[in-house]
């Protein structure tokens, strides 16, 4: 079997190379999002943020990584050792695997699955196991309670998330993220965020809750649960949890940008207003949208206080779920009307 153009080996090699490129880029982004988050929150509190390591503290992520790698690896005595070691990997794997179905521009996509949105939802539901098992296997009551809380949070926010995505799927008539972007570019307003404003807001709130970010960062409620399911973790394993959180932040931003803001395409009215925008490369357009949402994630964290747990759950079941259903019906009416 030589390296001809259509052999299996060649195909595997190309796929492997693509995966490495995407993984490298996303890991670099995740590392520097930590830096940017500290910097931006610092500026919002009239501080400077990290400044010591390198010029303007640019090497801070590297220093953090080295610190995490060389810390002592602690296994609590009462923990289930195997599960304790597997749990962060489960969470991280489920976060990273999402990248395989996300298109970064019209031609670059690792796996062209025609059910991209469902794959994302399935992986999100598998990631909950990482949280629960981390909480359970630590052998500490803070971890168990924190793990169950976060799992309940992620589970109950998955439903409005999926239902608001159902509106997009209904409008685009496809489960594939690429098709959704293309259908969106040809729709009346160019972006789905305008006709499906309700779904957009619901999705945005659910994205904050799904990634366990502020104002829904119950795991980090120190006064109640110490650090939730990561209480007993230290060193590199804790780093894996944080990596998973930042990668899932990127996944959620990518999903919002692709499903609601037109992905790499710009709406026709924007191009009519500013014709020079047409010259932007598609990946850059997508990246700008994603960076905006990452900034929003950080901005919201710097601004809002944390929700109480019962408020969190009642918000999901009493407000967001009905809203997403109303949004779904509204999209159905629009579709019936031929829009």
């Amino acid at each position: 079997m030589g390296l001809s153009n259509n052999s299996l080996l060649f195909y595997l090699f190309i796929t492997f190379a693509e995966i490495m490129v995407v993984l490298g880029i996303i890991l670099l982004h995740a590392a520097y999002t930590v830096y940017i988050e500290r910097k931006v929150i610092g500026r919002m509190q009239a501080r400077l943020g990290p400044m010591e390591v390198g010029p303007y503290g640019l090497l801070q992520p590297l220093a953090d990584l080295i610190k995490l790698l060389f810390k002592e690896d602690i296994l609590p005595r009462d923990s289930h050792k195997t599960l304790f070691q597997i749990a962060p990997l489960v969470l991280l794997a489920c976060a990273i695997a999402n990248l395989s179905v996300i298109p970064f521009n019209p031609s670059f996509l690792i796996a062209d699955v025609n059910l991209g949105v469902l794959v994302v939802l399935a992986l999100a539901s598998l990631g909950v196991y990482g949280i629960i098992l981390a909480g359970y296997s630590s052998g500490s009551k803070y971890s168990l309670l924190g793990g169950l809380r976060s799992a309940a949070q992620v589970l109950s926010y998955e439903i409005p998330l999926g239902l608001s995505l159902a509106g997009v799927i209904l409008a685009a008539e496809s489960f594939s993220l690429k098709d959704i972007v293309e259908a969106q570019a040809q729709s009346l307003l160019g972006v789905y965020a305008l006709p499906q404003f309700l779904g957009f807001i619901v999705f945005l709130i659910c994205a904050f809750a799904e990634t366990n970010r502020a104002p829904f960062d119950l795991p980090e409620a120190e006064s109640e649960l110490v650090a939730g399911y990561i209480t007993e973790y230290s060193g590199f394993r804790m780093g894996l949890f944080f990596l998973a959180e930042y990668i899932s932040m990127y996944i959620m931003s990518l999903l919002i940008a692709l499903c609601y803001l037109g992905g790499w395409s710009l709406p026709w009215w924007l191009i009519a207003l500013f014709p020079f925008l047409q010259a932007l490369p598609p990946t850059l357009v997508l990246a700008l949208k994603v960076y905006f949402f990452i900034f929003l994630f950080i901005w919201v964290r710097a601004t809002f206080p944390r929700y109480r747990f019962d408020q969190l759950m009642s918000m999901s079941w009493k407000i967001l779920l009905p809203l997403s259903l109303i949004n779904f019906m509204w999209v159905a009416i629009l579709k019936r009307g031929g829009l």
């Binding site: 469902l118 399935a122 999100a124 539901s125 909950v128």
Partner: protein, 169 residues
Amino acid sequence: MVERGLLLFVLTFFVLFLFFLTFIFRQILYQFLTILLIMVLLGIYYLFLNAEFIAAIQVIVYAGAILIMFLFTIFLFPEEELKYSRDILKTHYSSFLPLGFFLALFLFSLFKAIPKSYKEQNFYFDLKILSKILFNDYWITIYILAFLLSLPMIALYIFFKREERSGSN
């Protein structure tokens, strides 16, 4: 074809391995984890049957909803209840015999039922075809299904109402 056979061979091997692990483990939590893996692997089986939608739904519903519900229930019980006090498998090996016989009979009848020469239909499982059949020919089933799905919610409501009443008395 060779790749498909190889992958399915490995998959079936995995499922059999997990099958034995499920019997060996004596804690419900570990048994649960092997069963979870089996459910996720079943999703891959559905992919091989050209049913991507069922594969995704299998993972979302079984792994994401049903088994998580089970995991939450596991945490409700004390740890002594989650181990087997008396394992029949350990004391009565003979109890495997009727079950083994049943398995053999089942497999035999299955392979007997396979037609000698079938033409493989490269039929693609399209969602649009499915929804057309589902909502035009089988709409009564859909309504019954909707009713059935609302049953657990009603049951939960009654359950918690009774809890409240007994709690107040």
